[in-house]
């Protein structure tokens, strides 16, 4: 879902840069206020894991593949604020060193993957926040991670659809359904990977979700 340079129109680039900057500012402020330095190793490791996982594309159908984005995974381990920061760094390294995702489209990529992915965790919080039911928690993680990919793809479809590059191909009417089609399938992979990772982590190390207590969230 990484948008390369030269695909988006300048207004979309500017708007997505501004939106992402606002969210990054919010995430930074919250981290500065509440996160202790002790989470830093977990933060760095999880980012490194997500970077590696994003290199591993899985085939879906008709000669197309997808890979884990990891926003919901990070947010479940670290909370949405830290997840935004961590995911933004993954995207930054990808853009600078690997030209995976453009520089002018960096704001859009942060919005579609880092912010949507991280904010998707509020779904988990709302649906299973006060419940002690493990199955309910995992089901909400599954749903949130699927939603994060589909919503990210929807945004991406809109961003590329209103840009001149895709105008001759049919614009929004083509890009939005096409992005949704692929990512409804890719999202199932995202959800399956995220949910099995989280359930294994919780099984092996039940204290792994304690990080969220930093935010005053009692999620089990």
């Amino acid at each position: 879902m990484h948008i390369p340079d030269g695909v988006l129109n300048p207004y979309v680039c500017a708007l997505t840069y501004i939106t992402s900057a606002i969210f990054l500012f919010w995430a930074w402020r919250k981290m500065k206020a509440t996160y202790p330095r002790a989470v830093v190793p977990l933060l760095a490791m999880s980012s490194a894991f997500v970077f590696a996982a994003q290199m591993l594309n899985f085939p879906i159908a008709y000669g197309t593949s997808g890979h884990l984005v990891g926003g919901t995974f990070l947010a479940t381990l670290l909370g949405p604020h830290a997840a935004i920061l961590s995911m933004t760094i993954v995207l930054l390294i990808q853009a600078i060193f690997f030209a995976d995702g453009g520089i002018s489209t960096f704001g859009a990529n942060i919005l579609n993957m880092a912010i949507i992915g991280a904010v998707s965790f509020y779904f988990v919080k709302i649906v299973s926040g006060s419940s002690t039911n493990r199955k309910r928690f995992l089901a909400s993680v599954f749903a949130a991670s699927w939603l994060s990919v589909v919503l990210g793809a929807l945004l991406c479809g809109i961003e590329i659809g209103v840009s001149p590059t895709f105008a001759s191909a049919g614009g929004l009417l083509v890009t939005v359904p096409a992005m949704l089609f692929w990512h409804i399938i890719i999202g199932v992979g995202e959800a399956a990977i995220t949910t099995s990772l989280i359930s294994q982590l919780v099984r092996v190390r039940p204290t792994v979700l304690n990080g969220l207590a930093i935010l005053g969230w009692n999620i089990r």
């Binding site: 879902m1 990484h2 390369p4 340079d5 030269g6 695909v7 930074w28 981290m31 500065k32 206020a33 509440t34 996160y35 202790p36 330095r37 989470v39 830093v40 190793p41 977990l42 933060l43 760095a44 490791m45 980012s47 490194a48 894991f49 970077f51 590696a52 290199m55 591993l56 594309n57 899985f58 085939p59 008709y62 000669g63 197309t64 593949s65 997808g66 920061l85 961590s86 760094i89 993954v90 390294i93 990808q94 853009a95 600078i96 060193f97 690997f98 030209a99 995976d100 453009g102 520089i103 793809a153 590329i160 895709f166 001759s168 049919g170 096409a178 992005m179 692929w182 990512h183 890719i186």
Partner: protein, 90 residues
């Protein structure tokens, strides 16, 4: 800190094993761009390791693996530094 090293090692081993199994098909967005007949524009920036290939390594597996290890290292270090800056001391 011991746990960190273990997990980092697991990530590296996992990548080494799973990399040959990774699909080389285009992803959803790339498929759409191809179907729309959009050629990848010659951007201003090509990155230091374009397409996850480490410079001067001929073998494609080792080239991608080396770039992956470099990426893991860069992401880890950078997140560590930003993490230190963005968290409270105590």
């Amino acid at each position: 800190m011991k746990d960190s090293a273990k997990i980092l090692l697991a990530v590296i081993v996992g990548l080494t094993i799973l990399l040959p199994l990774a699909s080389t098909y285009p992803d959803g967005l790339e498929t759409i761009a191809q179907n729309a007949g959009i050629k990848e524009t010659e951007g201003l920036w090509h990155g230091l390791m374009p397409n996850y290939n480490f410079p001067h390594i001929e073998n494609s597996y080792f080239s991608t693996l080396a770039s992956g290890l470099a990426g893991i290292f860069l992401v880890f270090v950078f997140t560590f530094l930003v993490g230190r800056m963005s968290t409270r001391k105590r």
